[in-house]
Amino acid sequence: MNKHLISAADLTKDDALLILDTAEELARVSERSIKKLPTLRGRTVVNLFFEDSTRTRISFEAAAKRLSADVINFSAKGSSVSKGESLKDTALTLEAMGADAVVIRHGASGAPHRLANWVRGSVVNAGDGTHEHPTQALLDAFSMRRRLGSLEGRKVTIVGDVLHSRVARSNVLLLSTLGADVTLVAPPTLLPVSVDTWPCAVSYDLDAVLPKSDVVMMLRVQKERMNAAYFPSEREYSRRYGLDRERFAKLPEEAIVMHPGPMNRGMEIAAEVADSPRSTIVEQVANGVTTRMAVLYLLLGGEI
């Protein structure tokens, strides 16, 4: 495995399977009453969050703590530039503190790559701008595998704002590495112009794709897209691309519904669908911790 986890493209199929298998083993720890392992004792993991994301931060924090690492939360709201300190200076500060791993969430695409130039420890991308969110893709794959078994040949449909979605980018890369067939569904305005070069299929028609899907992953639609003419109205978006009860009924019996959260209930996903037994949305949160434990464990070379 690479020293860093910045893009899902950094992972070979063997790497990805190793992470998922390791997460499976670590999941058993989470089921114990004492959830802690001593493997990363004495190692320091810094959570460097330039964007608010309580869910992702506590997920990484729980993962590191269950492995007995020392965790430092460094919250730098807003951009480093507006704060006056550059990302480089922040990096040098962390370096001086002896961080073994830096988990970074940043609003600028590519910030983790830049950080990796300035720190010696491992860099884990916890979401960078509209680029990638590889641990989300790993936990999604883990969740799918738990429900469906091997992902080889599985049909995964990702619906929504692909253009601005780091979750979609990482999922397309990881799922194609793992042999799944991915189809992206979105209004054409919310797809990159070059999407035909991605390792996946593309459709504008959700109803046509649903009956052939093993997994439907709904992406969050950001409020700010609504004022930028990406689609005419919330209502029209919901009608054409939302997963409501009628559409849900078109899915095959075994198919599952996913969402990286936070959801807009009633917009991209109906409440009944989100709360149905075929939704993995709550499991995804739990699986996030074990998957991130596996990533930290493997990057920092701990021992079970």
Partner: protein
């Protein structure tokens, strides 16, 4: 002064005699009692003229000053540069352009011809006092809001019309602002993968098409700054075929580099050293730009030398400043992209990097062929040398070159400004 053993435009070895800043004799075997410079078979070209330079003074002297910028220009073989107007304060009054012009005179390394802003403060609302700048000591003929596009069609029309009174030209930075709001790099395969907001080619092409039509309508001169797409080339070719008075420039970096460098480079992905406006485009665009420069659709190579201090580039991509320095590498890059590929000969290089920019900028003392009676603005260039690019060796105050560590062909051996050496043996004289 006698320059011995040089090949004018790459021709047969000859000597050039200079007296009182003017070429007084040309031919083999000339003698003098004065100073002699041995050209050692270097190519002699008319001193280069840059139509697009950011000298940053006044306001950003931490990035460049007129002095360091003109030293950088001399090192690159330039004897005149057009200093862009986006300084602080903006060069939108006779006072500021005269200040820049005077600083150029004092520096003595090359002539500085200020460019005046088209609109007050580059804000695109109200015309700057174009006539006052034209009539000032700086004799401004090129007007540009470079860095920003004059996107208001009426204002652009008025500017084009107004400058006819003093034979001016509007140099447009063609970038439709709404199509490029927040844009970070060329919109295409790489931007999609990297999740960087795309800068579509159409944002450049739509403005160029509109401006060509406007220039034709009012019968004025339009110059298009830093053309970067194959589509822009097609539009300009079409406008020229109509006989319209449209000229265009391309930067050295757009002749050599592509947007793939943003994803994969020796410095890792997202290195803002490759962040520039207009953005680096694709291989197809580079090929079209080279072809257009060869066939004359694009008239000029202009550097868009844009110095930035280290801290403005050592950041995450979105926070970084846009621009690259280019004065000291321009001729080498043009050799690599155009001469060594057989697309342009040295006479062509002289036309595109000296004669044409001087003509467009109405600089009578520059861009003249090296012949008896012409001002002795001369660059001696050894195309057989290879230079590894080390930014620390630049005369420019800034280091933001995309060519660091690359080996490029050729080396500027000497530069003469009206007979006075500004560079000798590759070093500032």
């Amino acid at each position: 002064m006698l320059i011995r053993n040089v090949r004018v435009l790459g021709g047969e070895p000859t000597d050039i005699l200079i007296e009182d800043g003017v070429i007084t004799a040309l031919g083999p075997g000339l003698e003098t009692t004065g100073e002699v410079v041995d050209g050692q078979g270097a190519i002699a070209l008319p001193g280069l003229v840059d139509l697009h330079t950011h000298l940053r003074e006044p306001g950003r002297e931490d990035a460049e000053t007129v002095r360091t910028g003109t030293q950088s220009a001399a090192r690159g073989g330039y004897t005149a540069v057009h200093a862009m107007a986006n300084t602080m304060p903006v060069a939108d009054t006779a006072g500021v352009v005269e200040q820049v012009w005077r600083l150029g005179q004092e520096s003595g390394y090359c002539d500085v011809q200020p460019v005046g802003a088209v609109t007050v403060g580059l804000e695109g609302r109200q015309l700057a006092e174009l006539g006052a700048m034209a009539d000032s000591a700086a004799r401004v003929r090129v007007f540009s809001d470079d860095g920003k596009c004059v996107d208001d069609a009426v204002l652009m029309r008025r500017a084009l019309e107004y400058v006819k009174a003093f034979d001016g030209v509007v140099a447009q930075h063609a970038q439709e602002p709404k199509l490029t709001a927040g844009a970070q790099m060329n919109e295409g395969v790489v931007s999609g993968r990297l999740g960087l907001a795309g800068w579509p080619a159409v944002a450049e092409e739509a403005i160029i098409a509109r401006d060509c039509l406007l220039a034709a309508h009012v019968g004025s001169r339009l110059h298009v700054c830093h053309v970067s797409t194959a589509g822009s080339v097609e539009i300009i070719r079409w406008a020229k075929s109509k006989g319209w008075n449209v000229t265009a420039e391309v930067t050295p970096h757009h002749l050599l580099l592509t947007d793939e460098l943003v994803e994969e480079s020796p410095n890792g992905p997202y290195n803002p050293i490759y962040k520039v406006n207009p953005p680096l485009r694709t291989h197809e665009d580079v090929a079209a730009l080279r072809e257009a420069l060869a066939d004359g659709t694009i008239d000029v190579v202009a550097t868009d030398h844009a110095p930035h201090p280290v801290e403005d580039k050592e950041t995450e991509w979105a926070a970084a400043a846009m621009g690259m320095i280019g004065l000291e590498t321009a001729l080498s890059v043009v050799q690599e992209a155009m001469v060594d590929t057989g697309l342009l000969d040295w006479a062509g290089v002289a036309e595109r990097m000296s004669a044409a920019p001087a003509r467009i900028g109405r600089l009578s003392g520059h861009g003249r062929p090296l012949e008896v009676g012409a001002p002795a603005n001369i660059v001696l260039y050894d195309p057989t040398a290879r230079t590894e690019i080390h930014p620390a060796q630049f005369a420019s105050k800034s280091r933001n070159t995309p060519y660091e560590g690359l080996s490029l062909p050729g080396k500027v051996v000497a530069t003469f400004l009206r007979g006075k050496p500004t560079v000798l043996e590759g070093k500032l004289a």
